[in-house]
Symmetry: C2
Subunit: 195 residues, 2 copies
DNA sequence: GTCTATATACCGATAGAC
DNA sequence: GTCTATCGGTATATAGAC
Protein backbone atom coordinates (compact mmCIF):
# COMPACT_ATOMS: atom_id res chain seq x y z
CA UNK A 1 0.00 0.00 0.00
CA UNK A 2 1.14 3.44 -0.86
CA UNK A 3 4.40 1.96 -2.07
CA UNK A 4 4.16 3.62 -5.44
CA UNK A 5 7.26 5.77 -5.15
CA UNK A 6 6.38 6.89 -8.65
CA UNK A 7 4.28 9.78 -7.23
CA UNK A 8 7.27 11.92 -6.43
CA UNK A 9 6.84 15.49 -7.60
CA UNK A 10 4.09 16.23 -5.09
CA UNK A 11 0.80 17.25 -6.61
CA UNK A 12 0.35 20.91 -7.48
CA UNK A 13 -2.46 21.29 -5.01
CA UNK A 14 -0.24 20.12 -2.18
CA UNK A 15 2.53 22.44 -3.27
CA UNK A 16 0.10 25.36 -3.22
CA UNK A 17 -0.98 24.53 0.31
CA UNK A 18 2.63 24.07 1.39
CA UNK A 19 3.69 27.48 0.11
CA UNK A 20 0.49 29.19 1.25
CA UNK A 21 1.05 27.82 4.74
CA UNK A 22 4.44 29.47 4.93
CA UNK A 23 3.39 32.72 3.23
CA UNK A 24 0.31 33.10 5.44
CA UNK A 25 2.55 32.69 8.46
CA UNK A 26 5.22 35.09 7.28
CA UNK A 27 3.02 37.82 5.83
CA UNK A 28 -0.47 37.19 7.14
CA UNK A 29 -3.51 35.79 5.33
CA UNK A 30 -5.12 38.94 3.97
CA UNK A 31 -1.83 40.49 2.92
CA UNK A 32 -0.80 37.42 0.92
CA UNK A 33 -2.18 37.56 -2.63
CA UNK A 34 -2.78 34.88 -5.22
CA UNK A 35 -0.02 36.43 -7.29
CA UNK A 36 2.50 35.96 -4.50
CA UNK A 37 1.57 32.34 -3.89
CA UNK A 38 1.48 31.56 -7.61
CA UNK A 39 4.92 33.06 -8.10
CA UNK A 40 6.35 31.01 -5.23
CA UNK A 41 4.79 27.79 -6.48
CA UNK A 42 5.75 28.59 -10.07
CA UNK A 43 2.32 28.46 -11.65
CA UNK A 44 0.03 31.05 -13.20
CA UNK A 45 -2.75 32.77 -11.33
CA UNK A 46 -5.29 31.22 -13.63
CA UNK A 47 -4.21 27.69 -12.84
CA UNK A 48 -4.83 28.54 -9.25
CA UNK A 49 -8.59 28.45 -9.42
CA UNK A 50 -8.53 24.99 -10.89
CA UNK A 51 -7.34 23.69 -7.52
CA UNK A 52 -9.13 26.13 -5.23
CA UNK A 53 -12.34 27.93 -6.01
CA UNK A 54 -11.80 30.79 -3.57
CA UNK A 55 -9.10 32.14 -1.30
CA UNK A 56 -10.93 30.95 1.77
CA UNK A 57 -10.65 27.41 0.45
CA UNK A 58 -6.86 27.71 0.51
CA UNK A 59 -6.99 28.96 4.07
CA UNK A 60 -9.19 26.01 5.03
CA UNK A 61 -6.65 23.65 3.46
CA UNK A 62 -3.79 25.40 5.27
CA UNK A 63 -5.61 25.07 8.58
CA UNK A 64 -6.18 21.38 7.90
CA UNK A 65 -2.49 20.99 7.09
CA UNK A 66 -1.54 22.72 10.32
CA UNK A 67 -3.91 20.52 12.28
CA UNK A 68 -2.17 17.46 10.86
CA UNK A 69 1.30 18.75 11.64
CA UNK A 70 0.17 19.72 15.15
CA UNK A 71 -1.22 16.25 15.76
CA UNK A 72 2.03 14.73 14.50
CA UNK A 73 4.09 16.97 16.79
CA UNK A 74 1.99 16.06 19.83
CA UNK A 75 2.42 12.36 19.01
CA UNK A 76 6.18 12.82 18.67
CA UNK A 77 6.30 14.41 22.13
CA UNK A 78 4.48 11.37 23.48
CA UNK A 79 7.18 9.18 21.96
CA UNK A 80 10.28 11.07 23.09
CA UNK A 81 9.02 11.95 26.58
CA UNK A 82 8.08 9.20 29.02
CA UNK A 83 6.28 11.15 31.73
CA UNK A 84 3.49 13.74 31.50
CA UNK A 85 5.81 16.26 33.13
CA UNK A 86 8.45 15.74 30.46
CA UNK A 87 5.80 15.99 27.77
CA UNK A 88 4.65 19.33 29.15
CA UNK A 89 8.30 20.31 29.08
CA UNK A 90 8.37 19.50 25.37
CA UNK A 91 5.62 22.07 24.82
CA UNK A 92 7.63 24.72 26.66
CA UNK A 93 10.81 23.82 24.80
CA UNK A 94 8.96 24.28 21.52
CA UNK A 95 8.90 28.01 22.24
CA UNK A 96 12.66 28.05 22.68
CA UNK A 97 13.32 25.92 19.61
CA UNK A 98 11.13 28.07 17.37
CA UNK A 99 12.29 31.37 18.81
CA UNK A 100 13.81 32.60 15.56
CA UNK A 101 10.56 32.22 13.63
CA UNK A 102 8.55 33.50 16.59
CA UNK A 103 10.66 36.65 16.83
CA UNK A 104 10.18 37.29 13.11
CA UNK A 105 6.56 36.24 12.58
CA UNK A 106 4.98 35.51 15.96
CA UNK A 107 3.15 32.29 16.79
CA UNK A 108 1.65 30.65 13.69
CA UNK A 109 -1.57 29.80 15.54
CA UNK A 110 -1.95 32.93 17.62
CA UNK A 111 -1.16 35.40 14.85
CA UNK A 112 -3.56 33.72 12.43
CA UNK A 113 -6.38 33.64 14.99
CA UNK A 114 -5.79 37.28 15.89
CA UNK A 115 -6.02 38.32 12.25
CA UNK A 116 -9.15 36.27 11.57
CA UNK A 117 -10.78 37.56 14.76
CA UNK A 118 -10.33 41.18 13.66
CA UNK A 119 -11.89 40.54 10.31
CA UNK A 120 -14.66 38.44 11.85
CA UNK A 121 -13.63 35.73 9.40
CA UNK A 122 -15.80 32.65 9.18
CA UNK A 123 -12.74 30.41 9.55
CA UNK A 124 -11.78 31.83 12.95
CA UNK A 125 -13.48 28.86 14.54
CA UNK A 126 -11.56 26.43 12.36
CA UNK A 127 -8.23 28.06 13.19
CA UNK A 128 -9.21 27.97 16.85
CA UNK A 129 -9.36 24.19 16.70
CA UNK A 130 -5.57 24.19 16.48
CA UNK A 131 -5.48 25.89 19.88
CA UNK A 132 -7.99 23.29 20.98
CA UNK A 133 -5.59 20.51 19.95
CA UNK A 134 -2.91 21.92 22.23
CA UNK A 135 -5.38 22.68 25.01
CA UNK A 136 -6.79 19.16 25.04
CA UNK A 137 -3.36 17.55 24.90
CA UNK A 138 -1.97 19.75 27.68
CA UNK A 139 -5.03 19.08 29.82
CA UNK A 140 -4.58 15.35 29.39
CA UNK A 141 -1.01 15.59 30.63
CA UNK A 142 -2.06 17.54 33.72
CA UNK A 143 -4.88 15.05 34.34
CA UNK A 144 -2.35 12.23 34.48
CA UNK A 145 -0.38 14.15 37.11
CA UNK A 146 -3.20 14.45 39.63
CA UNK A 147 -2.42 18.10 40.29
CA UNK A 148 -4.29 20.21 42.83
CA UNK A 149 -5.61 22.78 40.34
CA UNK A 150 -8.04 22.21 37.49
CA UNK A 151 -6.15 20.55 34.62
CA UNK A 152 -7.96 22.63 32.02
CA UNK A 153 -7.10 25.86 33.83
CA UNK A 154 -3.46 24.85 33.91
CA UNK A 155 -3.57 23.97 30.22
CA UNK A 156 -5.07 27.34 29.34
CA UNK A 157 -2.57 29.16 31.53
CA UNK A 158 0.39 27.42 29.90
CA UNK A 159 -1.11 28.20 26.51
CA UNK A 160 -1.58 31.84 27.52
CA UNK A 161 2.00 32.19 28.74
CA UNK A 162 3.36 30.81 25.49
CA UNK A 163 1.21 33.27 23.54
CA UNK A 164 2.32 36.21 25.66
CA UNK A 165 5.96 35.32 25.11
CA UNK A 166 5.32 35.04 21.38
CA UNK A 167 3.73 38.49 21.11
CA UNK A 168 6.47 40.27 23.04
CA UNK A 169 9.21 38.27 21.31
CA UNK A 170 7.73 39.37 18.00
CA UNK A 171 7.83 43.01 19.09
CA UNK A 172 11.15 43.19 20.90
CA UNK A 173 12.95 40.40 19.01
CA UNK A 174 15.03 39.69 22.11
CA UNK A 175 16.21 36.04 22.33
CA UNK A 176 17.30 36.53 25.93
CA UNK A 177 13.76 37.52 26.90
CA UNK A 178 12.50 34.31 25.31
CA UNK A 179 15.13 32.28 27.17
CA UNK A 180 14.17 33.87 30.48
CA UNK A 181 10.46 33.25 29.95
CA UNK A 182 11.05 29.67 28.86
CA UNK A 183 13.06 29.07 32.01
CA UNK A 184 10.28 30.72 34.01
CA UNK A 185 7.68 28.43 32.46
CA UNK A 186 9.82 25.40 33.35
CA UNK A 187 10.05 26.62 36.97
CA UNK A 188 6.29 27.18 37.01
CA UNK A 189 5.75 23.65 35.73
CA UNK A 190 8.03 22.19 38.39
CA UNK A 191 6.27 24.15 41.13
CA UNK A 192 2.87 23.12 39.80
CA UNK A 193 3.42 19.38 39.44
CA UNK A 194 5.48 18.81 42.58
CA UNK A 195 3.44 17.75 45.51
CA UNK B 1 -4.33 79.01 29.66
CA UNK B 2 -6.29 76.78 27.37
CA UNK B 3 -9.46 78.46 28.51
CA UNK B 4 -10.64 79.22 25.02
CA UNK B 5 -13.70 77.04 25.06
CA UNK B 6 -14.43 78.54 21.67
CA UNK B 7 -12.62 75.69 19.93
CA UNK B 8 -15.45 73.22 20.41
CA UNK B 9 -16.23 71.24 17.27
CA UNK B 10 -12.90 69.45 17.35
CA UNK B 11 -10.87 69.98 14.26
CA UNK B 12 -11.46 67.61 11.36
CA UNK B 13 -7.96 66.24 11.62
CA UNK B 14 -8.54 65.24 15.22
CA UNK B 15 -11.84 63.62 14.37
CA UNK B 16 -10.13 61.59 11.66
CA UNK B 17 -7.52 60.37 14.12
CA UNK B 18 -10.17 59.60 16.72
CA UNK B 19 -12.21 57.45 14.36
CA UNK B 20 -9.15 55.86 12.77
CA UNK B 21 -7.92 54.87 16.23
CA UNK B 22 -11.10 52.95 16.91
CA UNK B 23 -11.41 51.47 13.40
CA UNK B 24 -7.78 50.32 13.34
CA UNK B 25 -8.40 48.59 16.65
CA UNK B 26 -11.65 46.96 15.65
CA UNK B 27 -10.74 45.91 12.11
CA UNK B 28 -6.98 46.13 11.84
CA UNK B 29 -4.86 48.73 10.07
CA UNK B 30 -4.48 47.21 6.61
CA UNK B 31 -8.10 46.10 6.44
CA UNK B 32 -9.43 49.58 7.27
CA UNK B 33 -9.79 51.71 4.14
CA UNK B 34 -9.96 55.46 3.63
CA UNK B 35 -13.56 55.05 2.53
CA UNK B 36 -14.50 53.44 5.83
CA UNK B 37 -12.85 56.13 7.90
CA UNK B 38 -14.25 58.93 5.74
CA UNK B 39 -17.77 57.51 6.07
CA UNK B 40 -17.46 57.33 9.86
CA UNK B 41 -16.11 60.86 10.11
CA UNK B 42 -18.63 62.15 7.62
CA UNK B 43 -16.25 63.62 5.07
CA UNK B 44 -15.30 62.74 1.52
CA UNK B 45 -12.28 60.65 0.60
CA UNK B 46 -10.82 63.59 -1.25
CA UNK B 47 -10.87 65.82 1.80
CA UNK B 48 -8.88 63.14 3.50
CA UNK B 49 -5.61 63.85 1.77
CA UNK B 50 -5.76 67.45 2.74
CA UNK B 51 -5.15 66.41 6.35
CA UNK B 52 -2.96 63.36 5.78
CA UNK B 53 -0.74 62.80 2.80
CA UNK B 54 -0.60 59.02 3.09
CA UNK B 55 -2.21 56.26 5.11
CA UNK B 56 0.95 55.73 7.11
CA UNK B 57 0.67 59.30 8.32
CA UNK B 58 -2.72 58.51 9.86
CA UNK B 59 -1.24 55.47 11.55
CA UNK B 60 1.57 57.59 12.96
CA UNK B 61 -0.99 60.05 14.32
CA UNK B 62 -3.02 57.20 15.82
CA UNK B 63 0.08 55.82 17.53
CA UNK B 64 0.85 59.26 18.93
CA UNK B 65 -2.71 59.52 20.20
CA UNK B 66 -2.44 56.13 21.87
CA UNK B 67 0.84 57.12 23.46
CA UNK B 68 -0.86 60.16 24.97
CA UNK B 69 -3.80 58.16 26.28
CA UNK B 70 -1.44 55.54 27.68
CA UNK B 71 0.57 58.17 29.49
CA UNK B 72 -2.63 59.66 30.89
CA UNK B 73 -3.79 56.25 32.09
CA UNK B 74 -0.51 55.53 33.82
CA UNK B 75 -0.68 58.92 35.56
CA UNK B 76 -4.25 58.21 36.69
CA UNK B 77 -3.10 54.93 38.24
CA UNK B 78 -0.47 56.87 40.14
CA UNK B 79 -3.20 59.12 41.49
CA UNK B 80 -5.74 56.50 42.53
CA UNK B 81 -3.26 53.96 43.92
CA UNK B 82 -0.97 54.91 46.79
CA UNK B 83 1.52 52.03 46.78
CA UNK B 84 3.52 50.49 43.93
CA UNK B 85 1.78 47.18 44.61
CA UNK B 86 -1.63 48.76 44.21
CA UNK B 87 -0.46 50.46 41.05
CA UNK B 88 0.65 47.15 39.59
CA UNK B 89 -2.78 45.89 40.56
CA UNK B 90 -4.31 48.66 38.46
CA UNK B 91 -2.48 47.29 35.42
CA UNK B 92 -3.87 43.81 36.06
CA UNK B 93 -7.37 45.15 36.65
CA UNK B 94 -7.21 46.94 33.31
CA UNK B 95 -7.40 43.51 31.65
CA UNK B 96 -10.56 42.68 33.58
CA UNK B 97 -12.15 46.06 32.94
CA UNK B 98 -11.50 45.94 29.20
CA UNK B 99 -12.39 42.26 28.82
CA UNK B 100 -15.32 42.94 26.51
CA UNK B 101 -13.20 44.82 23.99
CA UNK B 102 -10.33 42.38 24.43
CA UNK B 103 -12.56 39.40 23.71
CA UNK B 104 -13.85 41.09 20.55
CA UNK B 105 -10.72 42.77 19.21
CA UNK B 106 -7.74 41.65 21.28
CA UNK B 107 -5.26 44.01 22.91
CA UNK B 108 -5.02 47.35 21.05
CA UNK B 109 -1.24 47.42 21.42
CA UNK B 110 -0.47 43.76 20.90
CA UNK B 111 -2.74 43.25 17.92
CA UNK B 112 -1.39 46.34 16.16
CA UNK B 113 2.22 45.34 16.75
CA UNK B 114 1.54 41.81 15.53
CA UNK B 115 0.01 43.09 12.31
CA UNK B 116 2.81 45.57 11.66
CA UNK B 117 5.45 42.96 12.43
CA UNK B 118 4.05 40.60 9.79
CA UNK B 119 4.10 43.29 7.15
CA UNK B 120 7.53 44.48 8.19
CA UNK B 121 5.94 47.91 8.51
CA UNK B 122 8.23 50.83 9.16
CA UNK B 123 6.01 51.98 12.03
CA UNK B 124 6.42 48.75 14.02
CA UNK B 125 9.08 50.49 16.08
CA UNK B 126 6.78 53.41 16.78
CA UNK B 127 3.94 51.14 17.88
CA UNK B 128 6.40 49.24 20.06
CA UNK B 129 7.05 52.41 22.05
CA UNK B 130 3.56 51.99 23.56
CA UNK B 131 4.71 48.67 24.99
CA UNK B 132 7.80 50.49 26.16
CA UNK B 133 5.63 52.97 28.07
CA UNK B 134 4.01 50.15 30.02
CA UNK B 135 7.29 48.30 30.44
CA UNK B 136 9.09 51.31 31.88
CA UNK B 137 6.22 52.19 34.19
CA UNK B 138 5.85 48.62 35.46
CA UNK B 139 9.60 48.37 36.01
CA UNK B 140 9.56 51.57 38.05
CA UNK B 141 6.88 50.15 40.31
CA UNK B 142 8.85 46.96 40.89
CA UNK B 143 11.99 49.00 41.54
CA UNK B 144 10.24 50.82 44.34
CA UNK B 145 9.30 47.49 45.92
CA UNK B 146 12.88 46.22 46.29
CA UNK B 147 11.92 42.78 44.99
CA UNK B 148 14.38 39.90 44.74
CA UNK B 149 14.10 39.45 40.95
CA UNK B 150 15.13 41.89 38.26
CA UNK B 151 12.45 44.61 38.03
CA UNK B 152 12.63 44.68 34.23
CA UNK B 153 12.16 40.91 34.02
CA UNK B 154 9.12 41.17 36.23
CA UNK B 155 7.75 44.01 34.12
CA UNK B 156 8.19 42.01 30.91
CA UNK B 157 6.66 38.92 32.50
CA UNK B 158 3.59 40.82 33.63
CA UNK B 159 3.33 42.36 30.18
CA UNK B 160 3.64 38.92 28.59
CA UNK B 161 0.95 37.41 30.80
CA UNK B 162 -1.47 40.19 29.90
CA UNK B 163 -0.77 39.64 26.20
CA UNK B 164 -1.26 35.90 26.48
CA UNK B 165 -4.61 36.40 28.17
CA UNK B 166 -5.61 38.87 25.46
CA UNK B 167 -4.82 36.46 22.61
CA UNK B 168 -6.69 33.53 24.11
CA UNK B 169 -9.57 35.73 25.25
CA UNK B 170 -9.85 36.96 21.67
CA UNK B 171 -10.00 33.38 20.38
CA UNK B 172 -12.20 31.71 22.98
CA UNK B 173 -14.21 34.78 24.04
CA UNK B 174 -14.62 33.29 27.51
CA UNK B 175 -15.04 35.92 30.26
CA UNK B 176 -14.51 33.29 32.96
CA UNK B 177 -11.10 32.46 31.54
CA UNK B 178 -10.20 36.14 31.72
CA UNK B 179 -11.43 36.32 35.31
CA UNK B 180 -9.37 33.28 36.29
CA UNK B 181 -6.22 34.63 34.67
CA UNK B 182 -6.69 38.06 36.22
CA UNK B 183 -7.03 36.42 39.63
CA UNK B 184 -3.95 34.36 38.88
CA UNK B 185 -1.96 37.49 37.99
CA UNK B 186 -3.03 39.10 41.27
CA UNK B 187 -1.86 36.00 43.18
CA UNK B 188 1.42 36.07 41.26
CA UNK B 189 1.87 39.73 42.16
CA UNK B 190 1.20 39.06 45.84
CA UNK B 191 3.67 36.16 45.88
CA UNK B 192 6.28 38.25 44.07
CA UNK B 193 6.17 41.39 46.21
CA UNK B 194 5.75 39.73 49.60
CA UNK B 195 9.01 39.15 51.34
C1' DG C 1 -11.31 73.19 3.73
C1' DT C 2 -14.33 70.49 1.32
C1' DC C 3 -16.01 68.57 -2.55
C1' DT C 4 -16.32 65.63 -7.28
C1' DA C 5 -13.89 63.29 -10.61
C1' DT C 6 -10.30 60.53 -11.85
C1' DA C 7 -5.63 58.24 -12.24
C1' DT C 8 -3.25 54.06 -11.35
C1' DA C 9 -2.55 49.76 -9.41
C1' DC C 10 -3.81 45.46 -7.45
C1' DC C 11 -7.13 42.40 -5.74
C1' DG C 12 -10.00 37.91 -6.23
C1' DA C 13 -12.33 35.50 -9.62
C1' DT C 14 -13.86 33.94 -14.42
C1' DA C 15 -13.70 32.39 -19.39
C1' DG C 16 -11.84 29.84 -22.71
C1' DA C 17 -7.84 28.08 -25.70
C1' DC C 18 -4.53 24.35 -25.63
C1' DG D 1 -3.96 20.64 -15.78
C1' DT D 2 -1.98 24.70 -17.29
C1' DC D 3 -1.98 28.66 -19.62
C1' DT D 4 -3.37 33.79 -21.37
C1' DA D 5 -6.61 37.28 -21.24
C1' DT D 6 -9.86 39.80 -18.89
C1' DC D 7 -13.77 41.23 -15.90
C1' DG D 8 -15.54 43.79 -11.95
C1' DG D 9 -14.39 45.68 -7.68
C1' DT D 10 -11.67 48.24 -4.52
C1' DA D 11 -7.51 50.23 -2.86
C1' DT D 12 -4.49 54.49 -2.29
C1' DA D 13 -3.58 58.67 -4.13
C1' DT D 14 -4.05 62.90 -7.14
C1' DA D 15 -6.13 66.99 -9.72
C1' DG D 16 -8.84 70.64 -9.78
C1' DA D 17 -13.44 73.16 -9.06
C1' DC D 18 -15.82 75.66 -5.42
Amino acid sequence: MDDNSTAPPLRTRDRIVEHADRLFYEGGYDHTSFATIAAEVGISRGNFHHHFKAKDDILAAVIERRRNSTAAMLRSWERVAATPTDRLGCFIDMVAENRQDIMRFGCPVGSLCSELAKQEHSLLGASGTIFEQFRTWLREQFEQLDVAQEPDDLAMHLLAMSQGVAVLANVYKDPEFVAREVARMHRWLDDTVER
